[in-house]
């Protein structure tokens, strides 16, 4: 039985391939899901294309992966943008290989507001540097926290004592002015 999503996925793959050519490194269609593996330099234009041309109006999540010691991976890290289109009911993932020595990635906050906290979390947990983000600082861990705890080389029990209580006043003030309304 063919999956009803398959035809929609085919159309997206064909369109992205014709628009971006070699920037589309690979297509992963395991478990009837669609993941486009995209070059780091082209990620912002691919995301913008999916939003504008394919009506992917929701950025559900941004996930980071540490591929350390994984034999099949080309780079140390991967970023994964999970998109969903309400009008066409299609789910697309955009996967970006990110090398350890160059972790600059263009921000997606100008495309979706939900990218703001997603990118902050990916930054604090893995150390991705989202270029152009309005306030790239720690979201979940304490502001005195050092390092990136979801990296494979971070010690699992590496808790850090923080000396002060954290105050949200500064965050709230920045949220008034620092984020597009």
């Amino acid at each position: 039985m063919t999956n009803p999503e398959t035809a929609k996925h085919d159309a997206i793959v064909d369109e992205v391939r014709s628009a971006f050519g070699d920037a589309l490194l690979d297509v992963d269609r395991s478990y009837d899901d669609l993941a486009l593996v995209v070059e780091k330099a082209a990620v912002h234009s691919v995301l913008a294309h999916l939003r504008d041309a394919r009506q992917c109006d929701l950025l559900l999540d941004i996930a980071g992966v540490d591929c350390m010691d994984l034999p099949e991976s080309r780079t140390r890290f991967e970023l994964e943008y999970i998109l969903y289109s309400i009008p066409t009911d299609v789910r697309v993932r955009v996967r970006v290989p990110v090398p350890e020595d160059d972790m600059d990635v263009a921000t997606a906050t100008d495309l979706w507001q939900s990218a703001n906290w997603g990118e902050r979390e990916a930054y604090e947990m893995f150390g991705f540097n989202f270029v152009g983000h309005p306030c790239l600082k720690r979201l979940l861990t304490h502001h005195e926290f050092q390092g990136h705890p979801l990296r494979k080389d971070y010690p699992v029990m590496g808790g850090q004592w923080c000396t002060t209580t954290s105050d949200m006043t500064e965050d709230l003030e920045e949220r008034q002015g620092g984020v597009p309304k």
């Binding site: 926290f145 029990m157 808790g159 004592w161 000396t163 002060t164 209580t165 954290s166």
Partner: protein, 176 residues
């Protein structure tokens, strides 16, 4: 306090030591501050409510201000970001103050063996009674309060303004 009889139209006299009266008052009117951060706090609500009824032990007056409470019940997971907050709340409670660590997370970190969770609140504040369980049964909480009352009865009555213990190293700079 045993043996006192009250007869109508007759003057009654009880002789005791001041310490005993103070301890009797303290142990039977423990005002708890629920520091609830997880499911243990839901279980604590059950203990306060009518079925288990914590007021049978004089500890039903739940206060949400550290200035008005005697006993802090730490119910739930405490992570490193919250640790300075818990220390500050503890410091704000007036002496004498008592601490109950409720549930596996507060006692030992529970199953959160990771970088985010404090592996036992006794690293931050001195704990009088630990309650095991995930979450503990309401009876276990009542048992802890009875144990706390026995402990208050056994120890010499602490005086106002006198710090009881100093062995916990101060990890935080801005607690007061």
């Amino acid at each position: 306090m045993k043996g006192a009889t009250f007869t109508k139209n007759e003057t009654s006299l009880i002789t005791t030591r001041l310490d005993e009266v103070i301890k009797w008052g303290r142990k039977n009117s423990l005002w708890p501050l629920p520091f609830g951060t997880a499911c243990c706090a839901i279980e604590f609500m059950g203990v306060v409510s009518s079925y288990f009824d914590i007021s049978r032990f004089g500890a039903e007056l739940v206060r949400f201000s550290p200035r008005q409470s005697d006993m802090i019940i730490v119910a739930g997971t405490i992570n490193y970001k919250l640790a300075p907050v818990l220390k500050r709340i503890y410091d704000q409670i007036c002496e004498p103050k008592y601490v109950i660590s409720m549930g596996a997370c507060a006692c030992s970190g529970g199953f959160y063996d990771n970088y985010a969770t404090v592996q036992g609140i006794d690293q931050i504040i001195p704990v009088d009674v630990f309650i095991p369980g995930c979450p503990p049964r309401p009876e276990a909480i009542l048992d802890a309060i009875m144990k706390m009352q026995k402990r208050i009865d056994r120890e010499p009555a602490p005086r106002r303004g006198v710090e009881r213990r100093h062995e916990i190293t101060d990890k935080f700079t801005d607690s007061h």
